[in-house]
């Protein structure tokens, strides 16, 4: 299968993951447990893009708002749409990221990396410059690795005999979200 076929045929995998991640983040009030790390903070905020169908029947729904409960997006889920893009706040240890995550291609857009001491340096000398570059790479990779770990948890359930129970809980969360 070439990459174009993989993207179109397996698109559901990323979208189901992001939808499941929204459910997981709300299940424990914004805390998600990562094995080997402990609890991290993960909150869906401000901006969401939902999709259903494909090709000419593709429908998209964009929801934005600072203080909203994302009610339109929850109704969208109930209409059969899945999450394609979401603005996520992520906190792990002392570090905080904000990023817009695209489900189909695993894109990280508008990533605001954690503020660190060397971020503010002018980095005039080569060693300081190198340290700054390494730190920014490390923080970018850390955000992706955290998403990888969350994706691994999703996959282990999605491709196991436990999926029907998890799916039932996910459906119940979607139904409840649209009622409120």
């Amino acid at each position: 299968m070439d990459l174009v076929d993989i993207i179109s045929e397996k698109k559901f995998l990323g979208q189901e993951f992001l939808t499941w991640l929204w459910y997981k983040s709300e299940e424990r009030g914004g805390s998600v447990f990562l094995p080997g790390t402990g609890d991290i903070q993960l909150v869906f905020e401000k901006h969401m893009l939902l999709e259903s169908g494909e090709g000419e029947s593709l429908e998209q729904l964009v929801c934005r708002g600072l203080q909203t409960e994302l009610q339109e997006a929850r109704t969208g889920l109930l209409m059969g749409k899945k999450l394609e893009q979401a603005r996520i706040y992520l906190a792990k240890g002392d570090y905080e990221w904000r990023l817009t995550f695209g489900a189909t291609l695993f894109e990280c857009r508008n990533v605001s990396l954690p503020r660190t001491i060397s971020s503010n340096d002018e980095a005039a000398d080569p060693l300081a410059w190198e340290a700054k570059v390494l730190e920014r790479i490390g923080m970018s990779e850390e955000a992706l690795q955290t998403m990888d770990e969350l994706f691994r948890i999703f996959l282990q359930t999605r491709a196991s005999a436990d999926w029907p129970q998890e799916l039932a809980r996910l459906k119940s969360w979607i139904a409840k979200g649209a009622e409120n």
């Binding site: 894109e107 410059w129 970018s140």
Partner: protein, 201 residues
């Protein structure tokens, strides 16, 4: 939205194939060979090459090295002279009208019009200034992945070809399914192949 910008945007690629044993020598030679060549003082339409992520005018990496720890950090710079379609159409039509008047003929045949359009395009290209675009990338040599700091599909497609041409290695965008293959064990990968979309309502 590059690596050093306040906010950044990126996707991940995997690098396929084995790196040569004398990797840093190989990299130095390939990066020098494929470094950016300026076209400001020529009439060339297009130039692509590597520059420092710190300075788009530094193609010899005099101010900042591309080797940072176990990473190679580079910017892919593309300079291109572009001609807008509207301008091309206007000046092609103008030339057609001039020729028709000069030769006192009512119309020109198709091949003649195509030739006029191409001549005009070349004239306009020579008059236009090269427009630069710079895209950062960071190659993690420990796990052979590349972060590319753009989500523009055209830039990604150019990078895939240019990376292959420069280093002789194929890079593949890590979409969820391919990421999943790396994250799961063999039985998990087999189950992954059989998954179908779930209905969530």
């Amino acid at each position: 939205m590059g690596l050093l910008s306040r906010t950044t945007t990126f996707v991940r690629y995997s690098v396929e194939g084995e790196l040569p044993g004398n990797f840093w020598e190989f990299a130095a030679e390939r990066i020098a060979k494929f470094s950016f060549r300026d076209i400001d003082d020529t009439f060339d339409e297009y130039s692509i090459g590597w520059v420092s992520i710190d300075n788009m005018f530094d193609s010899s990496f005099a101010h900042a090295s591309y080797a940072v720890g176990d990473y190679i950090v580079l910017s892919m710079r593309i300079d291109e002279r572009k001609v807008s379609k509207t301008l091309l159409q206007k000046y092609s039509r103008k030339e057609e009208e001039r020729i028709k008047k000069e030769k006192e003929i009512p119309r020109l045949n198709r091949s003649h019009r195509v030739q006029i359009k191409e001549d005009i395009r070349l004239q306009l290209v020579k008059k236009s200034l090269p427009v630069p675009a710079v895209y950062d990338l960071c190659w993690n040599l420990a796990n052979n992945t590349v972060l590319f700091f753009s989500t523009a599909t055209k830039a990604q497609s150019v990078l895939e070809d240019f990376f292959k041409e420069c280093f002789g290695l194929t890079i593949i965008l890590q979409v969820p399914y391919l990421t999943a293959v790396h994250l799961l064990d063999l039985p998990g990968q087999e189950r992954l192949q059989d998954l179908h979309p779930a209905i969530l309502v």
